[in-house]
Amino acid sequence: MASRQRRSWWKHFQLLLSEFYQAPYRGAIARAKRDEDDLFMLFVFAELMGVPNPATYYTLEMQPLLLERFHAWHKRMGMEHSPLDHFRCC
């Protein structure tokens, strides 16, 4: 009985220890990921708002990727459908 209690206490302790070491980094990584996304959003929105991006013409093949990412983004933001009229991903 005592041994089982000890084991569960030990497991709990390990969990807390992991959190102690890893938690501070989670935020930084999540932020880094968000920054990458923001860059993407900047390009897409700039394009749609009429800010010319000279690279667009030469990278048209990437459009499907943009569509997918944009779709993931608006879903992540809690929007059921695409908020932009001319970017209809769903």
Partner: protein, 341 residues
């Protein structure tokens, strides 16, 4: 004489630029003809939407190289046709990679791209880059009749701009999934909607590694611009001739062009002062004397402003430039002036 002549024609590429209407096409054509007569195979490329190249040679010149005379070919770039071709090919490619329900959306998206203001300029630049590389390799000399500052400067920055965009998006794919993996290891959860597995998980694609092929295509295009840029910056490969008229606007515009080109380390090989009242013209009337005086003022200004460049003077002719004979005499004049510089 032949040795110094080789100097100009030793280049593989010659850009003839200047404000609209100064006589770029005429000078470019004259130079091309002179080179052809020397035995060099020459391609004249017009990027001017008005396409006066055909008018000067009194021929129909299309998008494919057209023979003008011995050793001389001409080509008129049609940016809209280029743009349409590019977009059609991208559409075809994309449709092979996505579900058919997205076909209409692709058509819509890409048609929008063709209507955007930068599309035809981008298409033009790509064609120029082509002709600077493989497209022009079959000729001893390619002469571009084009606005020097706008296009060329843009060509210089294209590799970086493309790189930032493609790297930002494609390389990100690897980074994002690595970040995701790290996040999972740290006990964090990726939220619903972050699932971009359709892209990462290539087995679910109809064909093999999508991102891989995409990367190849984009890198190949980018390399084309890098090659073009290297040639632009190499003064032994590329020569720049700036054409102007002895008037105020021409002078001001040319100054700006030289400043811009110098900033990007592009050397102007010579300045061509075109349509100067000939020395032997009959200038009895007060009108023409006044014109001559004004011209002399500007010629002096040109001499001081562009003192570091050789200046080639081409006279105003009695008639329109049309046909090979007139071009021949202009070409001779340019060559003689080039020799005397």
């Amino acid at each position: 004489m032949a040795a110094i002549l080789k100097d100009l024609f030793e280049h593989h590429l010659i850009f003839v630029g200047g404000k609209g209407g100064v006589g770029k096409t005429t000078i470019a054509s004259a130079i091309g003809l002179a080179a052809a007569k020397q035995g060099h195979s020459c391609l004249l490329v017009s990027t001017d939407p008005a396409h006066s190249l055909g008018d000067i040679f009194d021929m129909t010149i299309g998008e494919r190289q057209t023979r003008l005379t011995e050793n001389l070919w001409g080509l008129e770039i049609d940016p809209d046709a280029e743009s349409t071709r590019h977009i059609t090919s991208v559409k075809t490619q994309m449709k092979q990679l996505v579900h058919p329900r997205l076909y209409d959306e692709i058509d819509r998206q890409l048609d929008l791209a063709s209507y955007s203001p930068g599309a035809s300029e981008a298409a033009l630049l790509e064609r120029v880059a082509d002709l600077m590389g493989d497209g022009g390799s079959g000729f001893d000399l390619v002469v571009f009749d084009t606005a020097p500052s706008g296009h060329t400067v843009r060509l210089l920055s294209l590799p970086e701009v493309m790189g930032a965009w493609t790297d930002g998006l494609l390389r990100h794919r690897e980074k994002a999934s690595r970040l995701d993996a790290v996040l999972k290891n740290l006990g964090g959860k990726t939220r619903k909607g972050d699932d971009l597995s359709l892209i990462d998980n290539t087995e679910r694609h109809p064909t093999g590694s999508t991102v891989g092929t995409l990367d190849e295509i984009l890198q190949k295009r980018r390399r084309k611009f890098i090659v073009a840029r290297d040639k632009l910056l190499d003064a032994t490969t590329t020569a720049f001739l700036l054409v102007l008229n002895p008037d105020k606007l021409s002078l001001l515009e040319s100054q700006k062009v030289v400043t811009l080109l110098t900033r990007f380390k592009i050397m102007v090989s010579a300045v061509v002062v075109n349509r100067v009242l000939p020395d032997d013209a009959d200038l009895q009337g007060s009108f023409l004397r006044a014109r001559r005086e004004q011209e002399q003022t500007y010629r002096r200004k040109i001499d001081t402003t562009f003192s570091q460049f050789p200046r080639i003077v081409v006279p105003l002719l009695q008639h329109d430039v049309c046909g090979i004979e007139t071009l021949d005499s202009i070409g001779q004049r340019v060559i003689n002036e080039w020799l005397g510089r």
